[in-house]
Each structure stands twice: as C-alpha cells, then as structure tokens.
Amino acid sequence: MTPSPLDVVEYALRLGDDALVAAQRLADWSARAPEMEEDVALSNIALDQLGVARLLLTYAGEVEGAGRDEDALAYLRSDAEFRNCLLVELPNAGPAAAVGTPGDFGVTMAKLLALAAYQWLTYERLVASTDGHLAAVAAKARKESRYHLDHATQWVLRLGDGTEESHRRMQAAVDDLWPYTHELFATDELVGRLSEAGVAVDPAALRAPWLEIVEPVLAVATLDRPTDGWAPEGGRRGVHTEHLSYLLGEMQVLHRAHPGARW
C-alpha cells in the first residue's frame, strides 16, 4: 500500500522537530558547559542533531510540494505547528524551572540519555524503511546517536554514583523527566498506517528495548527507576508546553526580523 504523502510529511516532521528542538536546547550550553571538553561535546551533539533535522525538514518540504524549504519549516512555523515530543522542549533547568533559570547539567544528561536511547532504537529500525530517503537518513544518524547515548550514559553513571550532591541532583533530574518519556512510545493512527506500510517505526514497540538500555544504567548509577504514572503528551499533535514558545521566540527572531538574511 502506498502511504499518503501528507502522512510522510507529518512523520518526517516528528523526527526532524525532535532533533531540531534538541539541537537548540543543547546549543545553549555552548561556552557555558561545566568544563572545556564538555563544551565541545555538547556542541558536537547539537550539530549532529541539527544535521539530521536539516535532512528531515528538507525532505518533509519536498514531499509536501508546497515550496517550503528547511528554513521555512524551521523558522516560519508557529509553536502549534511543531511536532516534537515535549521532552526535548523542556528547559535545561528542568520542567518546573522559571524562564531564564541557568541550565542544570544533570537534567541535560538525563534528557539526553532518554532521547538518545529512543533515537538510536528508532534509527536502527528505520534503516529498513520502505521509504528510501528516510532509510538513508537513518543509516547515517544511527551511528551518530550511538555516540550520544554513550556520552549520556557515562555522565549519568558518574553523577549518579558520584558525590552525595551529584547523586541527589541526578536522581531529581531523572524523577522530573521520567513522566515525559512515555510520550516517546505513544502511537496513533498515523504511525499505525505508516508502520503497516513499512515506512515508519512503531514507537510502541520501542519501550521494552528502551527500558533494557535505560534501567541497567540507572541501576549501576545507584539511581532509583521512577514508577510509571503521570504521562503528559500532546507534542505530536502540536499541543506543547509554554517552554516551546520561548525557545522558538529565540530561535526564530533573526529570520523573522530579517527574512532571507545570509551569513
């Protein structure tokens, strides 16, 4: 069965917006990370995410066929048109932090662990997609996300099994973010149609392997695995937290003030 082009656009935006918004949050650490090597590492990971986002947004624009390129999709959509999961838009200081609170490194690493494990599992399977372009993007991205997962794992281990203070903050970060991880595995009719056509990866099937990656990391890091309960969602249909609006305000201001500006 041939999938509807609009379904493919929507799916590419989900994957691409996850990567784009994650890149924007990570880039906020540039020149502010706790140590020099970490500054380089987080900027590199942000760059990888941005690269994948550009490929996916460009593709979404091409399939849509309405003349929107990567810039139009990144800079000229409103918050309700973004399809990223809520997890990536949460501030670096944590979901409950007031606007402008400096970032918390434990939050960033807890978030990266959850996201990278999910992205890696997704891309590993998306390589077999019947959509040749999505498969090609995934074949590149899966190798990069393996490095992201490795990096986040090392920090969660070090901070969880570190000092009393680092343990307390790492546990708080994992507890605060855990509810938002459920949305990664939520499925809907669109994903159902696309995975039946062999285009998409069914996220519901990823929760078990994701737990197989994340739970041992938490255990070795001497962190408690939070209990499942509240599961906020809405990002995939454009219902976001207020944090995304602030993020987009900063990310889009230059392009909107100076349309077509070039370096």
């Binding site: 590199n44 760059l47 994948v52 550009r54 490929l55 590149k140 190798k143 490795d150 794992t153």
Partner: protein, 165 residues
C-alpha cells in the same frame, strides 16, 4: 587525457577544509565524477561524513572552483547512501592523517557493541607522535564532528583521533 579524467583529477585534489592534510578522495567522500552525456557538464557526487558536517558547503564550492580552474562547468550532487564510514578512508589518507599528528580510526565495520559504556572504553590507538600504545580517550568529541580527543600516557601529549564511524 580525456576531459572526464582531467576533471576527476582536479576534483580529487580538493582538500578537506577541516583536515587540510587529506583530500576528499583520501577521505572517501568523493563518490563519482561523470559527464552528463546530454549537456557535457561534469557531475560530481559526494557524501557527507556526519549528518551535520559544517564543511560540506565549503567542499561544494571548492569543487566548483577546482572544476572552473580546470576549464569545466559542472554541478555537485550530494548522496547519503551508502552511509559514509571511516573504513572508506584510503590507505594514503590514513598515512597522511598519522603524519599530521591525527590518529587514524580503528576499523568500524560491524555493529558497535552495546554494553554499559563507562565500563567499555575504546581500545587504545597508537600515539601519532611517539608511537606508544599507552593512550586514553579523554572525550568522544573533539575539535570537529569526526574526531575524538586523546592523550598519550607516555609522551603526555594530547592528540586528535578520527573516531570509528
């Protein structure tokens, strides 16, 4: 020499803007140089190392300049498949990296083992300065997307290493 092989020679000599000791041919990112039979234009096909490699735009314009200097007009196409791997770096490329103090990558073929990292560290790569195998990785991420940061425990010098991908 045919027009096509002259064009190929010009394009193959383009150096990577971030690793200026190797050419795009050495790195294995130059996929093809062909001639459009209809227009006679040269078509150069390249592939990115990392998805977000910021050098791609510079590489494209350097290729166009090399073609123009050699008296050709042409276009540059980018393909993603098959995904680039560090195993595509040529022997000459590896030797040139090592000579410039950048450790060439270990083989990347096959799946990356999934275990608890932090416990699993990459195997030491020989120090490009003193040859010692007593080295350790400081960070997976270095000054460019494709490099990691290493330190030699014998001569104490830090060095870059191209990380297996």
């Amino acid at each position: 020499m045919s027009a096509r092989s002259a064009a190929r020679e010009a394009v193959a000599a383009v150096v990577d803007p971030e690793l200026r000791v190797v050419t795009i041919e050495d790195l294995g990112i130059l996929r093809d140089v062909s001639e459009d039979p209809a227009t006679g234009e040269v078509v150069v096909t390249i592939t990115p190392t990392y998805s977000g490699c910021p050098a791609m735009d510079v590489i494209r314009s350097d290729i166009r300049r090399a073609l123009a200097t050699a008296g050709h007009t042409g276009e540059v196409r980018t393909v993603l498949k098959p995904a680039w791997s560090t195993d595509m770096i040529t022997e000459r490329g590896r030797a040139r990296l090592a000579a410039a103090g950048i450790a060439p990558p270990a083989p990347a073929s096959g799946p990356v083992p999934l275990g608890l990292p932090g416990v699993h560290r990459p195997d030491p790569v020989p120090c490009p300065r003193c040859g010692s195998s007593e080295t350790e990785e400081i960070s997976h991420f270095g000054s460019t997307a494709c490099k990691a940061l290493w330190r030699c425990l014998s001569c104490r010098e830090p060095f870059d290493g191209v990380k297996p991908l």
